[in-house]
């Protein structure tokens, strides 16, 4: 193998760091989500219960953060798994595009759902 050196900074540092930052934030959001949404005395899961919770801006904000950061962390994480492989450019760009599009789509769906109340 003649080694191909790709020099020039490629911004790996930032996405690597953001992955860690979002991870830590998600850790707390997750705890919040679990306790507030699922496991407390009045965490009903009926339509009405959910609806009434969603009126609370704090809850809403928390869910919004969860959706956005969760999707970012997930897409970025999956991309880093994909990037480990020595794929040819077109394949990796396709996967990248699919990941980004899916993230955007599901992000929008999630946000729309949240905003519809």
């Amino acid at each position: 193998m003649a080694y191909k050196q790709v020099s020039s900074r490629s911004g790996g540092a930032l996405s690597w760091f953001l992955q860690r930052v979002t991870g830590i934030v998600l850790l707390f959001v997750m705890i919040g989500h679990y306790i507030l949404m699922h496991y407390n005395i009045d965490s009903g899961h009926t339509y009405d219960a959910v609806l009434s919770r969603m009126q609370n801006p704090f809850y809403k904000g928390l869910q919004m953060t969860f959706v956005v950061l969760g999707i970012y962390h997930g897409v970025n994480g999956t991309w880093s798994v994909v990037r480990d492989f020595d794929l040819n450019k077109s394949v990796s760009w396709t996967i990248y595009a699919l990941l980004v599009i899916s993230g955007v789509v599901f992000g929008l769906v999630g946000i729309t759902t949240l905003m519809s109340f």
């Binding site: 860690r20 496991y39 997930g74 897409v75 999630g110 759902t113 519809s116």
Partner: protein
């Protein structure tokens, strides 16, 4: 694809296990997150649709799945925390110890969650 053979035959130390599981749980959670978001779109279709869906989740099978999901969340969060300590603090020097401790705590929490889910205290 010879890497698969290498991966399978090479001795896996705790670090390698945690890496593998972190990836698997991560991808699993990613998938679940999309599913979760998709499921919640039922909220827009009105109370009947949503409540019907919620009933589904109360079945024992889904309770098991919920418990398993919590397992993924636990491992991925705690191991993620460990990775952050390795990368940004001096965690590399204590990585195995951390893994053993976090695994211990996770198992305890996982058991606790099992009780919570199946006893139905919060339902």
């Amino acid at each position: 694809m010879s890497w698969i053979k290498t991966l399978l035959t090479y001795e896996k130390a705790p670090g390698a296990w945690s890496w593998g599981l972190h990836r698997i749980t991560g991808l699993g959670l990613m998938f679940y997150l999309y599913l979760h978001i998709f499921a919640l779109t039922a909220l827009q279709e009105g109370p009947e649709a949503f409540n019907a869906e919620m009933e589904l989740f109360k079945s024992p099978v889904f309770m098991l799945l919920e418990w398993a999901l919590f397992g993924l969340v636990l491992f991925h969060s705690f191991n993620g925390f460990r990775i952050v300590l390795i990368d940004l603090a001096q965690g590399a020097k204590y990585h195995k110890k951390m893994l053993y401790w976090l695994t211990g705590i996770s198992i305890a929490l996982f058991a606790g969650m099992g009780y919570v889910i199946f006893s139905g205290v919060f339902h």
